[in-house]
């Protein structure tokens, strides 16, 4: 789980980002550091990411050209994030996931317009996870079935997409890092401090959202991901969670609902929203008791 607040990139001051900061949101930036250290030990070929900020209403879409290079400016926080990106796409794997999902009856489309601007959620999560930008990426859009139907419909579609993702990766023979680019509770403040990185202004929007975040984190640590899936509708609604974009449900399904403990690298708030950097390591999966994948 790799949330995408542009604030974290802003606070890290990479050369690609125009605005510069003094500091900020260290608990989450250090969480990403710990996850990066673990991933440096892992051997993987490709990053597969689902971002809530490429929002599609007509099916699920996949980037379908080998490279995208442009500037990303955050529409809400343009003062913090104006980032020059250069992304290589694993079009072969994108197409394989697309085809697997299509075979399952899902509405899917490849995005092959070279002028397309990659969403900032994808860029932020990828940069914080792998700032070297040396791994190709598969970018999957967020189908907004929650807005059109319900959280339950969104979950079923995301779960189906997760199964298709896992099958395609297995068939490809590649080792993939999956990223669900979402926060947990997601009620923003409606004003911004004069100095964005002023940490005296940063806290959870309300206590009940914090309680929800802690409940979800505790369940992840205990390997209760099936149970998380079961309470996802309540969590999504009551915590105004960014799980409404489907990434959380997708990654749990693609990982076949891990029963082993997740590593919670850290938790922090960004302009009132709750964010956690969480890892489900591959070696834990390999050592875990295998549960038959349900269809």
């Amino acid at each position: 789980m790799a949330p995408h607040p542009p604030h974290l990139v802003y606070a890290d001051n990479p050369v690609q980002n125009e605005p510069k900061s003094e500091c900020g949101w260290e608990s989450l930036r250090w969480a990403y550091e710990r996850m990066r250290a673990n991933l440096d030990e892992a051997d993987y070929d490709v990053i597969v990411i689902l971002s809530p900020h490429w929002q599609t209403y007509v099916g699920t879409h996949f980037l379908g050209l080998p490279n995208f290079k442009s500037k990303s400016v955050d529409p809400i926080f343009p003062n913090l994030f104006r980032f020059d990106y250069d992304i290589d796409v694993d079009v072969e794997l994108s197409r394989m996931i697309h085809d697997e999902a299509q075979a399952d009856g899902m509405v899917v489309k490849m995005m092959e317009n070279p002028d397309f601007r990659v969403d900032y959620g994808t860029i932020v999560s990828c940069h914080l996870t792998r700032p070297q930008w040396d791994k190709p990426v598969v970018c999957i859009s967020s189908n907004r079935a929650n807005a059109y139907y319900s959280v339950e419909v969104m979950q079923e579609m995301a779960a189906q997409l997760g199964r298709a993702t896992a099958r395609a990766i297995e068939k490809s023979g590649k080792r993939a890092l999956l990223l669900a680019s979402n926060s947990l509770s997601h009620r923003h403040f409606i004003t911004e401090p004069e100095i964005p990185e002023d940490m005296s202004a940063e806290h959870i929007t309300s206590h009940h959202l914090y309680l929800w975040d802690m409940k979800l984190i505790e369940m992840m640590k205990q390997g209760k991901t099936k149970e998380i899936f079961d309470i996802m509708p309540e969590f999504t609604e009551q915590a105004v969670s960014e799980s409404d974009g489907g990434a959380f449900s997708w990654i749990l399904s693609a990982l076949n609902f891990p029963t082993y403990p997740a590593i919670v690298h850290g938790y922090g708030t960004i302009i009132g929203t709750g964010n956690a950097v969480v890892e489900w390591p591959a070696e834990a999966a390999e050592n875990a008791e295998v549960t038959p994948r349900g269809e």
Partner: protein, 461 residues
Amino acid sequence: MTGEIVLSAIVPVHPHPLLVPEKNEGWGHLRQAFTTLRQRIIDSGAETIIIYSTTWPNIIGHQLLADPNPKWTLVDADFHDLGSMPYDFHVDTNLTNAWHNANERRGLSSRTVNYHGFPVDVGSVVSVSLLNPDNRFKVAVVSSNIYANRSETLVLSKACLDAVKESGGKVAVICAMSLSNRMFTELIEPSEDRIHSLKDDEWNQKILELLEKGRLEDIAQLSRQIHSQIRVQKVVSFKPMWFLSGVNGQTNNLKGEVLAYEALHGAGGAVVLLTPTENSAGDKEYDEDDVEVFSGDRSVLEGIEEKEVATSTATSNDGNSDIDTPAINSQSAPKPVGAYPHARKVGELLYLSGVGSRTPNTDEIPGGPCRDENGTSLEYDIAAQTRMCIENVKRVLESAGSSLEKVQDITVFLIDMERDFAIYNQVYSEYFADIGPTRTTLAINALPTPIAIEMKVIASF
């Protein structure tokens, strides 16, 4: 010269009429309607187009595009296969900055955005591309806050109107929006396009019927029902009609003309022209408050202890915040009669706007008004008015965490010094003799409402 809104319109947000009008007869109709609307804007003498776009969502207050020359190529997130949309237009920065300042004066959180590559939204790009292909007009674009409800949207529209009047120019206001916004969730052939459901179509037809009669405020009053009936619940409320009616003075005094209504991947897309007129449908009674100043009803999860006091902060044009001088509005005092808060805290002092003698909630004047609707003088009770005036001062002070005991300076305005001074002075002494603030009493011609006394107060905490 005072600026004015000479024309308003509704246009769809989808890229189909811009990129592939030839692929579906209805998309071609919409394209033609855009062309007709463009000519009407030219004929109106408008120099600037204001765009309120529902496809520019925002969470931090209200954003106004301030890049003098936005230039980029947009590709739609869903309909990327239809082609790219290059844009290159000119922003009316004077109007935009005036609007931003007016937003702040009316208590809204507002900021201007001037960054190369800022992602202008699809609704705005389609509007600009089809209505302004030769950059004949300057453009002002505002975001649509996802949390904003009626009161905030209405105040935004009034701030817009303040800026238009101040500009001295002629302006056309465009709402880039869908009617019903439920699209098909599967891929369809262009020839298969139709309104998603009969229910959506019937609601759309009803909306257009009312708009054709110029009944814009009536549609605005139905916004919540429309949202629940035919809108995918992506944001809070169907708000463009609140904005459009607000900039048109919240009336039905308009002439409506439906230039086109067609399906866009299932959603309802219409081009509707609205021009001011004196001979349209009458206004209907309405039981929601008219709002002049936004006092932050979205801060429900913050500042619980400030239940009675709503404070708002705003970011100024240069990015500096006036967070140290929060505006204060009391729920227990009479509502302001203009674009100002009840009070503003500066350092350790509290500055009150002029406080009159209207009764909170009812606006009745104790002892009767000093003049009737025709301006004829009436007998009034200055003692009762003085007492109410001081009680209202007390309400504002206490809402802000101060009190009468902490008043430092008072300026008193009387409309008839000779008649009223002695009695007013006696009531005044009942409250302030032991407190002893400095005081100045002035005689003036009149006050905005038919009251005889007003007080301007500075207090400490």
